[in-house]
């Protein structure tokens, strides 16, 4: 693991989680990762690897069947896991924002874009209705929406998927948060739109100096945008490091398999090819050994 | 048996069974003659209140008749209506629903339209209107309920039959050469039965209330047969002098309606996933 140069924005230490539904099956196995100031950190793995559990743990929206079994989520010198509901609500929206996965479901169908973009600005930044409206307008310009007034007056169903994702990105960055969680923000979009959205996130992130935790199953996407990357398998970190270094010389067999499955990592792909069975067998053995060593999980 | 493990079903079903036993053996159970008037013992309060007299556990009404005995005998009319009216409504509605759902096209159009027309009017008004037309009495009450509520069964059975008719086993039966009626009754009906049982139970609760309302208005059985609705009407008149005359039959009606409802609800939940809401 590469040590961060300054104090990281987000410092996850030894985060473990289990599924209560599924015989206390481990979902996260002592995951540690840092997101530095102004850094874009990729979190990669196939579905079920635990990526979204990490994102949810940061945002305090862990589902009821999942329990955090140990570890810390350090943010601004505090452990987010120990914050009370109201203390966490104070942090969320102001310091931490989310760019969601599916722009078709993440906007309220019965409220105008205007209302949905300004409510956070008013509550979390204390802007007046008029100021919030002006701010929303300039935010939409910033995400290269040509006709902000029309978009603000629209309902979500009147906008295309790419347009909606721009709105959501504008809303997330508009709150001037210190950390943005981007949860597979391009998965639901066309390939052509994906590129624009990635460029947009990178540009906004650089301009505002925001730290981003970029969750994706797609190493190709991560390669385009992330400074560093963490690879997860079955809730365990299998590889972590600078993106260029990991892609050039993957140390772990699983990362190699991911790369082999998606050879053109300069171009986003829509899904993962199946990982070779011998790699899976080796991984499971490795995880079993890890569980036995850490002595905190009982599962095969 | 999941049914037995549902406490709702056990308690509600137990109460209905108890009520059936009470209705059948009413003459043996009732402490007094439900019709015996005695103005010397008029409006006596239930046992435990001042001026109560032994022998009249729930007090007496304005004519000195024993309230408990009248509630016990009143269960006979309520349960008769519940079983006969709901049963007939179920039978007629199901047959029409099966026909509409299985034959489709013309029969379906006619029957569905009929259901729509029927459901456009408020049941209480329709039942009172019907009784006014066909005259009062137990038969009329039953006819009124059947005529109004067959639609509930028809709609559900029609939908269910339509979905069942598209299943593979029906096609298979047709391929083997079974006739349409044979398929209808042997193959489709058994699959619709669980839904029907639940619906029938709910309908019984409705029938009990409708009978009580018609008795209350004075359009049900003649006034010398004790009914809960009739008792409620009397009790409403003398509520200041003897609240128990209203309270006793109302409590019986309430318990019965809730029991049928909870039983139907529980049955729907355990018998059929489609009805789960």
């Amino acid at each position: 693991m590469t040590a961060p140069k300054t104090m990281p924005r987000l410092a996850i230490e030894d985060l473990s989680a289990i599924s209560l539904r599924d015989g206390n099956r481990p979902i996260l196995r002592r995951v540690s990762l840092d997101v530095g100031l102004g850094e874009v950190h990729g979190l990669v793995g196939e579905s079920g690897a635990g990526k979204s559990t990490i994102a949810k743990a940061i945002l305090g929206i862990i589902p009821s069947q999942v329990r955090i079994a140990g570890g810390k989520i350090g943010f601004e010198g505090r452990d987010l896991l120990t914050l009370s509901g109201s203390a966490l609500r104070a942090v969320l929206g102001r310091d931490i924002a989310l760019v969601p996965q599916d722009p078709t479901t993440a906007l309220n169908p019965s409220r105008r874009i205007d209302a949905q973009m300004t409510d956070g600005l008013r509550l979390k930044r204390g802007l007046s209705a008029k100021e919030a409206r002006l701010r929303a307008h300039s935010l939409l310009e910033e995400v290269q929406i040509r006709d902000p007034d029309r978009v603000l007056a629209s309902y979500p169903h009147q906008l295309s998927g790419g347009m909606r994702q721009r709105v959501l990105i504008a809303a997330a960055f508009g709150l001037e948060p210190k950390l943005v969680i981007a949860d597979e923000p391009t998965t639901a979009l066309d390939v052509t739109v994906q590129k624009q959205i990635l460029r947009l996130i990178r540009a906004l992130q650089e301009r505002h100096g925001t730290s981003v935790l970029f969750v994706s199953h797609d190493l190709g996407v991560v390669a385009k945008i992330c400074d560093r990357v963490t690879v997860l398998y079955m809730g365990k970190v299998v590889e972590q490091g600078a993106t260029a270094a990991v892609l050039a010389a993957p140390r772990h067999a699983y990362t190699k398999a991911l790369l082999a499955a998606n050879p053109r990592y300069d171009r986003p792909d829509t899904g993962l090819e199946p990982t070779p069975p011998e790699v899976i067998t080796a991984l499971r053995a490795e995880i079993a050994a890890f569980d036995a060593g850490s002595g905190e999980a009982r599962d095969g | 048996m999941r049914l037995i493990s549902d406490p709702k079903v056990v308690v509600a079903g137990g109460f209905i069974l108890f009520l059936i036993v009470v209705a059948i053996f009413a003459p043996l159970i009732a402490p007094q003659d439900p019709l015996a008037q005695n103005l010397l013992t008029a409006t006596l309060p239930p046992i435990g209140f001042p001026d109560a007299e032994p022998g009249f556990l729930l007090g007496t009404d304005g004519l000195g008749r024993d309230v408990l005995s009248r509630v016990i005998f009143g269960s006979r009319v309520s349960l008769t209506v519940a079983f006969v009216a709901a049963g007939l409504a179920c039978l007629i509605g199901s047959i029409l629903g099966l026909l509409a759902g299985y034959l489709g096209t013309f029969a379906d159009t006619v029957i569905s339209r009929l259901v729509d027309v029927w459901m456009a009017f408020p049941p209480v008004l329709l039942s009172i209107l019907l009784i006014a037309v066909i005259g009062t009495g137990l038969h009329s009450v039953i006819i009124a309920i059947v005529v109004i509520d067959w639609t509930r069964f028809c709609r559900v059975v029609r939908t269910e039959t339509m979905s069942q008719a598209q299943m593979d086993y029906v096609t298979a039966a047709q391929a083997v050469g079974f006739s349409r009626p044979a398929i209808l009754f042997r193959e489709i009906l058994p699959n619709v039965v669980p839904v029907l049982i639940a619906l029938l139970t709910l309908e019984m609760g409705i029938a009990v209330v409708v009978e009580a309302i018609l008795s209350f208005v004075g359009l049900s059985v003649s006034s010398d047969t004790p009914t809960w609705g009739g008792m409620i009407a009397e009790g409403r008149q003398i509520v200041h002098e003897g609240w128990w005359v209203l309270a006793a039959p109302l409590a019986a009606l309430f318990a019965t309606v809730v029991a049928f409802n909870q039983l139907g609800d529980g049955l729907a939940r355990s018998l059929d996933p489609v009805l789960r809401r």
């Binding site: 931490i96 409510d119 | 009017f121 209203l246």
Partner: protein, 335 residues
């Protein structure tokens, strides 16, 4: 487009209504028991009876009677009530306002109460509080207006004798009104003591009508709200740091309310039907109470007028529901 659909549905309903009117007209006349026999004194001669029948037009052939009746309706004349000796239209006009005030009040109470409990239940989801609400509501769902009305009579006649048991207003106060909308008029003219008196008469019938509807609203709205609360946009709003109550009211409610509105409309027609028996129990002078008297007395013209009136009310309610649901759905409005 949408208006065309609604207009089409209304037209269908009118056809249905006409059909029902015809059926009721014929049924009333082919079955035994004629109204004249009920009004004459025992010693009347056959000639007297015939004269009386002729007076009410009941001696003509069925088709002729029907022709006269339809012609009258087209001209706004629904005939003369046999028992009240007044024009059916004026009888209905006298009685309808009381029922409208009662039904609207009950609807308001049901929506407020049901909506409020549904929202509280949603806030309490996955807690013992929700289980308590669900348990009570499952019993409430089984209890019809008839039982509520009488339970309220017991409560307020015996245990807590503070409310008047019958009527719409103290007869002494029922003066100086220029319309029959007593409650509305007394509020608008600032006669609040009179309004209070009317309200005290309306509490019990209103509750009896409202509680069953409230129970239905609680069940459906709470379920829809809970589903809506799982949507991504609510999650995103939660991540903006909004509190639970704001999430329910601002994000979930508008998206969840559609099915409840549609159902409330349907149930409102049941509520109107319920006014028949509830008005009877509280001797409230509306059209429901009137309907029972008309039917018991076989007052043909009045029954026919009432059937048409009830049918018309239902059609109007259904159009109202369609319009409301459409207005709340931006997707439909902009389609």
């Amino acid at each position: 487009m949408l208006l065309a659909v609604i207009a089409n549905r209304a037209a269908m309903a009118l056809v249905t209504l006409a059909g029902v009117a015809v059926v009721v007209f014929i049924l009333l006349r082919v079955v035994p028991g004629d109204p004249v026999a009920m009004m004459i004194s025992p010693g009347a001669s056959a000639a007297d009876i015939a004269a009386l029948k002729a007076h009410y037009g009941l001696d003509a052939p069925l088709l002729v009677q029907f022709g006269i009746w339809t012609k009258g309706i087209v001209e706004g004349d629904f005939g003369t009530s046999i028992t009240l000796h007044r024009h059916v239209t004026s009888v209905l006009a006298d009685r309808l306002p009381a029922t409208i005030e009662l039904a609207v009040m009950a609807l308001f109470v049901a929506v407020t109460l049901g909506g409020g409990i549904a929202i509280v239940g949603t806030l309490l989801r996955r807690t013992p509080g929700e289980a308590v609400i669900d348990g009570l509501n499952s019993v409430m769902l089984a209890v019809p207006d008839f039982i509520w009305a009488l339970a309220l009579v017991l409560l307020f006649a015996v245990a807590l004798p503070v409310l008047p048991l019958t009527g719409q207003i103290d007869p002494a106060l029922a003066e100086g009104f220029s319309t029959r909308f007593y409650l509305t008029e007394s509020v608008l003219t600032g006669r609040f003591a009179v309004a209070g008196n009317i309200l005290s008469h309306m509490i019990m019938p209103t509750l009896a009508l409202a509680l069953p509807l409230a129970a239905v609203i609680v069940r459906l709205l709470k379920q829809s709200l809970k589903e809506a609360m799982l949507q991504d946009y609510v999650l995103l709003a939660r991540i903006k740091g909004f509190g639970e109550l704001r999430l329910v009211l601002q994000e979930a409610l508008r998206n969840a309310i559609g099915p409840t509105l549609a159902l409330t409309g349907v149930q409102f027609t049941f509520l109107i039907g319920g006014t028949v028996i509830v008005e009877r129990i509280f001797a409230y002078p509306g059209i429901g109470n009137l309907a029972i008297d008309a039917i018991i007395n076989r007052d043909f013209p009045l029954i026919q007028g009432l059937v048409l009136l009830f049918g018309l009310i239902f059609i109007l309610i259904n159009i109202g529901i369609d319009l409301t649901v459409a207005a709340l759905k931006p997707r439909l409005r902009h389609a």
